[in-house]
Amino acid sequence: MASDLVTTTYDPDLLIEEQGYDDHFHDHHHGDKYQSNFITHYVFSQDHKIIAKQFLITGIFWAIIGAGMSIIFRLQLGFPEESLAWIKPLLGKWITVNEAGIGTLDPQFYYALVTMHGTILVFFVLTAGLSGTFSNLLIPLQVGARDMASPLLNMMSYWFFFLAGVVMFASLFLSTGPFSGGWTAYPPLSVLPQASSGSAAGMTLWTVSLVLFVVSVLLGGINYITTVLNLRTKGMTMWRMPLTIWAFFITAIIGLLSFPVLASAFFLVIFDRELGTSFFLSDIYIGGEALDRVGGSPVLFQHLFWFLGHPEVYIIILPAMGLVSEVLSVHARKPIFGYKAMVYSILAIAFLSFIVWAHHMFMAGVNPFISNIFVIFTLIIAVPSAVKVFNWITTLYGGNIRFNSAMLFAIGFVSMFISGGLTGIFLGNSAIDIQMHDTYFVVAHFHIVMGIAAFFGMFAGIYNWFPKMYGRFMNETLGKIHFWGTFIGAYLIFWPMHYLGMAGVPRRYYSFETFDAFAHFDGTNKFITIAAIVVFALQLLFVVNFFYSIWKGKRMTTRNPWGATTLEWTTPIDTGHGNWPGKIPVVHRWAYDYGKDGREFIPQILPVSEDESESH
């Protein structure tokens, strides 16, 4: 089909010079003034492209730490009898070595690892590393703006994130250990410093870090929304925006409405911890003595937390969905199927995400009649999700598919999203939750649907836009090994967990030694751990490929290597500050003119010709 399509030839510089919009940006040379030395160019940069790279590399740093932690606690779960003495140089006193030389992981530290793994992956990697990276990179480039609405706030957004990371990193080295009460920080473990060793200084630093993180998200979000609404170039109507931009835009709105609520909850936690209030504490008995707090309710914290917590999973997955939509369309050489339906389903998901939070609390003593309402709303989310899945698959149907690393990860995303989404329908029912809550079924569900899937979206984005970021390509062979290994490996890790969960194996337990009912899962747990180690090793391969390619990858010789229609590929290979050297491009069509009127693709900057069929 593709062979008889004509490839459009065009000169982007000439087109932009003729058609473009002159905003007199380069008259003042302010680009150079602020970016003249190493510090202002690479460290305290206000250029959105550099900030995007900062978010990405910081995200990779945290991903290695977070995933490494999971390997350590998987070793404990898979091989509880084996000696862990060899990690003692790394973990120090958290490994106890007995007289026979057998090292065991301290149970307290096991909980800390689980907590940190969740916190780091959810906030630092999949929120900042994913949305922070690609919103920064793509919003100005794809809407045709010189930079963000406020480059200064944008820079501060990164540095607040950095600071949050520093505080969290410091908490790993406390003698009492980092916070260990679960990433959800439920009281009383999070509120009573004497509750566990991690609840002391570890929790204090955890709260400080996350408050800084909320500031970072808000500063970023304000910028993303303003840039999308105010700085679109001429001709770029909302309905012509690529789906990536729609996804980042809606994500920023969700974040802006939900993260302040998380901050409120954390402030009340701080009050309870430091000032003796009793918002979340009541007169519970500790060590035989009643606490002198009256009337607080830990369930209140859960309400506040999950009012953020649920939208948060969409803050993680929507950017991945946007990236995948774009990558699928570009590499299938077809317009995205049902563009408007895609936008409306993003909006529907965003709206519904705010009225389903109590499905995380079905077993926390919430009135079952109220639960019913939340069950219904939760299950309705399946509708817009299914619309999106249908559209992705239909976009692939009959496409002239390039099976490169970016595309493979995008297709892998769709697979993961289906597998993980279906188990979400199980868990959305409050009756099934009586058996399933807090089991490995839940672990399997959310890891597949928002962990692996979001990572796949991120990888698709990285492989696809790496040339735009660094002017070079990542190695394709390594990319394909990375994909197939991760794809198969991820299923091998998480598929068996469903069976554990159905049998009622609880999550977060240090050991199942005393549970005869779960003894026959020993082999399964070993298998999962081995698969996790292999997948972790493959991610290191990705990291090597990433950094190697920055300096030694294959050079980009044309500015639009994928034949994409969107504006970021009209910028010079070495994109300077201000993105376009001369005028700003003007947009004449939507972002998905692939295979139209017998032409392979038509960039957004090409004017609509008279003999062209109806255009968007």
Binding site: A149, L257, P260, S264, F267, G296, H303
Partner: protein, 192 residues
Amino acid sequence: MSVAVSEQATRNRIHPHKFALWIACASITMMFMAWTSAYVVRQAAGNWLEFRLPNIFFINTAILLISSLTLHYSYSSFKRGKEMLYKTFLIASFVLGALFLVLQYVAWMELYDIGVALDGNPAGSFVYVFSGFHGLHILGGLAAIIVAIVHAFALKFKPTAKRKLRFELTLTIWHFLDFLWLYIITFIILQS
């Protein structure tokens, strides 16, 4: 889909910085709405102390409202080129804003004296949380007014578009904090 009607100009009716400020206000509102929702949920659970807000809170509300009016008058004087009025009312706004903060502290003392302590029943703790965090935001608003005052006295009087925008940003913050306090105080009155 129709031909593009949007032009650069039509989208820029509102300055990006002002728009960004509105979004920031929305997120601050969410934070306070979270606390007021928590208040409702906690109140419904019983074991709730009923008390009457000290009258000084209402005097403070009036002071804050007046400061909003004076700042607005200062802004309109700035636009009309009345330098003296502009400067006088700008300083008056700052003084009223600072007075509000001081009197909020006095109100806290009165609350404490009638037996409503921060670490007592959550009914009282919430009032401290609301007014405390609102007060912190007022500090930010006062900082913005100080910057405006520095501009007023350090720069030559000239109502340029850029300086008008700066002033409008300050004005927006201050009006917003005013409405936020009205929301809080009305909420507490209606709930008790």
